[in-house]
């Protein structure tokens, strides 16, 4: 049996019918942007939250990340989202990590950090990047707000059973290459619909070699592959990461849980609907050139010709026009206006450390706006305790409060019109980071190196 099948069966209430089953939901996460409307609707229809102790909410999407923040935010109407979320969360009796709560942060950073997501659990959140949390061996997937209402009211959710895909990363990851690069390589090779409708299990020596924070990054990008979610079988690294965290089991309960978690692996001989194998040994840092995460190439490369782009003609032409690029242009020759480190993809302590190693003793190029937004308030405190904030500030980066910040433009703060931004985030869609903003997504170290150089740059030349 596959790992997915084991979790599916453990949670299935009754039989599958028409390829659909009702699954027990162990954890529900909400945020102010899409969770507020679910809580509000539920309340207006008179349905209470079925088990508030297993429902958590955070303020991350539109909360201000500038220092000294309160409830005001730059998003038009944003203040109301904050107030309504607070009021609805209180009325529902769920745990809220409020604006200035020490546990506040981006939902998919906070949940593992507090041991809320556990191996073998099911987790839903009205947020597409919920797949991030699959890195601990959970079945965690993004849903809509209406599906959220059902999960909140009943503790279960009707789910279409996905197909299975195993993505095996073989070989040894070279220095300067990380989980973000692995993911962009996968998506650029198989397309942004390459995992459509599947649960992706990441496996192979390269994946087992990844530390937990890198595994979150890898799983995070699974939604950009049009998959239902991604997951990684839990191992000693997973258990060591979770033990002692606030909501993780303790004492005898921990031992009992461990007894159950040991079987959370795909059995030898289990069959997947699809198998993909990728060799990582010769991989380079990746960066996107277009308006979709599949439009990615090694940072040492040029903007591909249409024939090698993997895009349709219409999409290719639109992407180049939006990005103001031509085929054959070397990516490292592209001057940038801004650099952004943050988001549920790459804002954890290890991400900030790797970026700081590039930045130490250097300064961002003149005219480049550089911003770092830690993924959670806890990450921020840990980073400050080891002096990373001073490295970022000395290099000319703004050092912010935690939140999703400028990963996406919600009508408030943004990068400039037609500005070129290199960003450690997950989406390079048109207008994603601001009206007309041209986003290149990459790893945190590539972002840091580019900020220093003033153009897209290969961090390996700075660190090695």
């Amino acid at each position: 049996m596959t790992l997915f099948e084991k979790i599916w069966r453990q949670h299935r209430i009754g039989e599958e019918r028409n390829g659909t089953a009702v699954l027990a939901v162990d954890r529900i996460f909400l945020h102010e942007r899409t969770g507020s409307v679910a809580l509000k609707t539920l309340r207006s229809r008179g349905y209470p939250v079925c088990d508030p102790a297993r429902v958590f909410c955070t303020m991350d999407h539109i909360v201000d990340t500038r220092p000294g923040r309160g409830d005001d935010c730059s998003t038009p109407g944003g203040h109301q989202f904050i107030l309504e979320t607070r009021e609805s969360a209180r009325a529902a009796g769920i745990t809220l990590f409020d604006v200035n709560d020490p546990d506040q942060g981006i939902v998919h950073v906070v949940s593992p950090e507090l041991g809320i997501v556990l191996p073998g659990t099911t987790v839903v959140c009205p947020d597409s990047h919920t797949c991030t949390q699959g890195a601990v061996g959970s079945l965690a997937w993004g849903i809509g707000s209406t599906e959220g209402e059902e999960a909140l009211a009943t503790g279960a959710l009707r789910v279409r059973k996905p197909r299975t895909l195993r993505a095996t990363f073989d070989g040894q990851i070279p220095a300067g290459v990380g989980a973000k690069d692995l993911s962009l390589a996968l998506i650029s090779r198989y397309g942004s619909a390459g995992g459509n409708g599947c649960v992706v299990e990441y496996a192979g020596a390269a994946v087992r070699g990844l530390e937990m924070e890198a595994r979150f990054t890898l799983c995070n990008m699974t939604t950009e592959f049009s998959a239902v979610t991604g997951l990684i079988a839990p191992d000693e690294k997973t258990f060591a990461y979770l033990q002692g965290r606030r909501y993780a089991p303790r004492g005898q309960e921990w031992s009992r849980a461990m007894g159950s978690w040991g079987s959370l692996i795909t059995d030898a001989g289990a069959v997947f609907d699809r198998e993909i194998t990728i060799e990582v040994t010769h991989m380079a840092p990746m960066v996107t050139w277009g308006t979709n995460p599949s439009h990615a190439v090694p940072v040492t490369e040029v903007v591909p010709a249409f024939e090698n782009s993997g895009a349709t003609r219409e999409a290719y032409d639109r992407a180049l026009s939006y990005m103001a690029l031509k085929s054959g242009v070397r990516l490292t020759e592209l001057k940038i206006d801004a650099a952004f480190i943050g988001s549920c993809t790459n804002s954890r302590l290890s991400d900030l450390r790797r970026a700081a190693r590039v930045l130490a003793g250097r300064h961002v190029a003149p005219g480049v706006t550089a911003v770092c937004v830690p993924g959670s308030s806890a990450v921020r405190r840990m980073a400050e305790a080891e002096g990373l904030d001073r490295v970022f500030s000395a290099a000319g980066f703004e050092w912010r409060e935690s939140g999703c910040s400028m990963c996406f433009h919600a009508g408030g703060e943004s990068f400039g019109y037609q500005h070129r931004v290199v960003s450690s985030t997950n989406r390079n869609f048109e207008n994603r980071q601001g009206p007309g903003t041209r986003t290149h997504i990459a790893s945190p170290e590539t972002v840091a190196a580019s900020a220093i150089a003033g153009h897209i740059a290969d961090a390996r030349s700075l660190v090695n």
Binding site: A24, A193, G411
Partner: protein
């Protein structure tokens, strides 16, 4: 009537930009539908006559012909609420992003999966003879048909088909199942006590 927008990877940021989500509500979103493409200038309501939705022959369209991976990106259900409020009742595309697909089914918008070449043929037919743009999407027969063309068979999973045909209220249905769910949870709690908090 159908409007062809056969672009690959039309994401939910394009369908409804986050800046257009101004209140904690499922309504008031139609005006923001495709705002980045429909209007000249971000944040304005200066209609761009070149965007297909603004062409007079497509006014009142209820069917959208889309490209691969339609509705990818953010889970925001506002994308479907905006499409529905604008008047769309069916989207015909080669593939859909999973969360968007589920959101469609729960909001009375039919996501019909049809091979790309068929979608392209339909789009060409609709563009060539606007007066004959009388597309029909038949959910009972799982067919899309246009005058003068043989019907195309589309796919949708049986569960979603039933939900849409019967106009079922998923939440009300689910709440009726609570006794079964609670019995399951009680058993599960003794097997996996660490999952239950408080």
């Amino acid at each position: 009537m159908a409007v062809p927008l056969v672009r690959a990877n039309v994401d939910t940021d394009a369908i409804i930009p986050s800046r257009e989500i101004k209140t904690v509500s499922k309504t008031g979103l139609a005006e923001g539908l495709f705002a980045g493409w429909r209007y000249r200038g971000i944040g304005t309501r200066d209609v761009d006559p070149n965007f297909i939705l603004n062409k007079p022959q497509y006014a009142g369209a209820r069917i959208l012909l889309g490209g691969e991976n339609f509705g990818c990106g953010s889970s925001r259900e506002h994308a479907v609420w905006a499409l529905h409020e604008y008047g769309f009742r069916a989207i015909v595309a080669p593939s859909f992003a999973p969360i968007f697909f589920g959101n469609c089914v729960r909001n009375g918008v039919l996501p019909a999966t049809l091979a790309r070449e068929s979608v392209v043929q339909l789009a060409s037919a609709v563009e060539a003879v606007p007066a004959r743009n009388l597309l029909t999407v038949n959910l009972e027969r799982l067919e899309v048909s246009a005058p003068g063309l043989p019907p195309y068979g589309f796919t949708i999973d049986p569960e979603s088909r039933e939900m849409l045909l019967q106009g079922l209220d998923a939440l009300a249905l689910a709440v009726q199942c609570r006794p079964v769910i609670e019995a399951f949870l009680a058993r599960d709690r003794s097997e996996r006590p660490w999952v239950y908090l408080g």
